[in-house]
């Protein structure tokens, strides 16, 4: 098991290194000049380049950059709006995104699980139908549309919640974005929980447990839920990545200073420079790979069969 875990971790780190190198290479070979050349003499430009270490060979630059990342230094933005050290800007953004994303995950998975369980226990009745309709709706409508709707209704027509995000009243102003972000998670989890549970209910081992005289909540908890949860973990993983890495448009619309908003700025090129694109790219990839890794390992913990397979594989 330990060998398996180490192997997975090694693979993940290697993949991340490759991606970092590719991103670095792409950004370095990008056409254009980092300095406004009309205003600077050739000598000044040469000095500046030497100062920033741009004349060194690419591998040397790469390892210097890598060393910086390990010390938590992503370099500095060069543009007007984002001139501060990137790590400072990123840490604020990460904390905002993680808090809102975390709320959305909690809300989404809790309500989703509940809804799914209720639907599976009342198969073919009202709650089952409700769950189906709800999950279809949540998957078909993007989260920013929910946000626009909620913002219009509960912040504009009925001005109860703030129209834009206010860091001083965090919980209060996090309601609208978290709810709109959680709907996709909620509906996906609800649908999956329901389908998995229905499948497990029909399985032979549950029939056996029933035959032994088990019933009610202990049957659901000990046999059905535990086995139904395993596939749900795999569904949850990409959702968690999506939410933690910031809900791009949602953050942009609601004025939340998160990594999603930074990413949108990077994509649209609004006052953000290559260093940011690089740092964000690495951050996103690291989060993505990290969470996928955790899920893989968690899967082993939840499902003994995978543990055994991993042990046999070496």
């Amino acid at each position: 098991m330990l060998k398996y875990v180490l192997k997975r971790i090694g693979m993940a780190v290697l993949t991340l290194l490759i991606i970092t190198f590719l991103l670095f290479l792409l950004v370095r070979i990008m056409p254009g000049n980092p300095f406004p050349s009309e205003r600077m003499s050739a000598e000044q430009i040469a000095n500046k380049r030497a100062e920033m270490g741009l004349d060194d060979a690419i591998p040397v630059q790469f390892f210097r950059y890598l060393g910086g990342i390990l010390r938590g230094d992503f370099g500095k933005g060069t543009s007007l709006y984002y001139g501060a050290p990137i790590s400072t800007v990123l840490s604020t953004a990460i904390s905002n995104s993680f808090r809102i994303g975390g709320l959305a995950i909690l809300l989404g998975s809790a309500v989703g699980l509940l809804l799914g369980i209720v639907a599976a226990l009342n198969r073919g009745k009202f709650w089952d139908g409700f769950c189906t309709v709800f999950s279809i709706l949540g998957v078909c409508v993007p989260s920013y549309v929910f946000l626009i709707f909620l913002q219009y209704t509960f912040a504009f027509r009925i001005p109860y919640f703030p129209y834009f995000f206010d860091p001083n009243r965090f919980l209060f102003s996090a309601v609208i974005p978290s709810v709109s972000l959680s709907l996709f998670t909620m509906s996906t989890i609800a649908r999956f929980t329901r389908n998995e549970m229905v499948e497990v209910f029909d399985s032979d081992y549950v029939r056996l447990a029933e035959a032994k005289g088990m019933y009610g909540s202990s049957l659901v908890r000990k046999h059905v839920l535990r086995n139904a949860l395993i596939p749900i973990v795999t569904v949850l993983a990409p959702l968690v990545v999506d939410l933690l890495t910031g809900a791009l448009v949602v953050e942009k619309i609601y004025g939340i200073n998160g990594i999603g908003k930074l990413m949108v700025d990077a994509i649209t090129g609004e006052g953000i420079d290559y260093n940011y694109v690089l740092a964000l790219g690495i951050l996103y990839s690291a989060l993505y790979i990290g969470i996928m890794l955790i899920v893989d390992l968690l899967y082993g913990v939840l499902d003994p069969r995978i543990r055994v397979a991993a042990r046999e594989e070496g």
């Binding site: 993007p142 448009v249 990413m263 949108v264 994509i267 090129g269 990839s285 993505y288």
Partner: protein, 346 residues
């Protein structure tokens, strides 16, 4: 037991059938068993698909939207990019800015009075936007652009991913190993990172959306194609073909490909909504479709910008987007069930 100990007299004289024992059945009774008639694979899939109410519903929605996207703009007297306006008696320009949805004859029918106002006798089914363009035309034109982008990119992705996965799975060993490591790395790069790097290299517009989708969507296809290949390549008919001297290319693309097409089409049905979603997101953010073109994404963005003054403007594109998602997902689910029916569904 009883039959074995039959009376000896019967055993001694075995019965010989005579001609009269055999009668020709009437013509109508001689035919294949209809209850368990053999039918071609695809016919079975079709029957199964059309028995699924959801799948048929999805098909109807998607067909309706495609038809409207193709013919909707033609049905309208307006153009998607022209501002509806006329010059009044005093030679002043009158522009149909921000008119809520209106149907004059319905108004007359309901209230009994002729509608009043500058554009009273115009039919604007979805209203007009803040510049005075007809939203009905724009919505269907935008749907056309979005659908076209999705279809074209997913089609190319299908060809790339399918070839990649089939080749990787067929040759196995070292080839497969290298190709799969590449897929693993490519799959670990979040789509957004690819988009943000692309946005530095490319000018914004339709090209950016298409390249972004081309770079990301083939991976899923290739995985499915590879899995199918691994399943099929061990079958006897492949061995037979190889024994007869067929080359690898022939076996992959002529013998095996037709048998993998089902799951791949299902994947296509799930990829199209992703493509539409991505396009809408990029256009909403402002790096997708550029003016004067419009797509579902830019229409939602326009609607969002005017939501406090013209709240009805955002509804049509959102409905089109949601219905497309719904339709394609239903079709995909239906296809998946029809292609691999479980025993209890039969």
């Amino acid at each position: 037991m009883a039959k074995k100990t039959a009376p000896a007299s019967q055993a001694a004289v075995p019965y010989t059938p005579v001609k009269e024992d055999f009668v020709l059945l009437p013509q109508r009774d001689i035919r294949t068993d209809t209850n368990f008639a053999s039918q071609s694979y695809w016919k079975g899939v079709l029957i199964h698909f059309f028995k699924n109410r959801r799948a048929v519903f999805g098909l109807i929605i998607v067909t309706a939207i495609i038809l409207l996207a193709v013919f909707g703009p033609m049905l309208s007297q307006f153009n998607y990019r022209d501002i509806v306006q006329y010059r009044n008696d005093a030679n002043r320009r009158v522009v149909a800015k921000g008119i809520a949805p209106q149907i004059p004859w319905l108004h007359q029918l309901l209230t009994g009075e002729a509608p009043e106002g500058n554009f009273a006798d115009y039919t604007f089914l979805f209203g007009t936007d803040d510049l005075g363009r007809d939203l009905w035309t724009r919505t269907w034109y935008g749907a056309r652009v979005s659908l076209l982008i999705a279809f074209v990119t997913i089609f190319i992705d299908m060809i790339i991913g399918m070839s990649y996965g089939l080749i990787s799975g067929f040759f196995g060993g070292m080839t497969d190993n290298i190709m799969q490591r590449f897929v693993e790395v490519a799959n670990s790069v979040p789509r957004l990172v690819i988009v943000s790097v692309l946005a530095i290299f490319m000018p914004k517009g339709m090209g950016l959306v298409i390249v972004a989708l081309l770079l990301t969507e083939w991976i899923g296809m290739s995985k499915i194609a590879r899995a199918e290949m691994l399943k099929i390549k061990e079958q006897e008919y492949v061995l037979a073909s190889r024994t007869l001297g067929a080359k690898s290319g022939h076996i992959i693309f002529r013998e095996i490909l037709p048998n993998t097409i089902g799951p791949i089409i299902t994947q296509v049905m799930f990829s199209i909504p992703t493509a539409i979603f991505t396009e809408a997101f990029l256009s909403f953010v402002g790096v997708g479709i550029v003016l004067p073109q419009c797509s579902v994404g830019t229409l939602i963005e326009d609607g969002f910008n005017n939501i406090t003054t013209l709240p009805y403007q955002i509804l049509p594109p959102i409905l089109v987007l949601a219905l497309l998602m719904l339709g394609f997902n239903f079709i995909g689910d239906g296809l998946r069930e029809a292609l691999a029916p479980k025993l209890e569904d039969m």
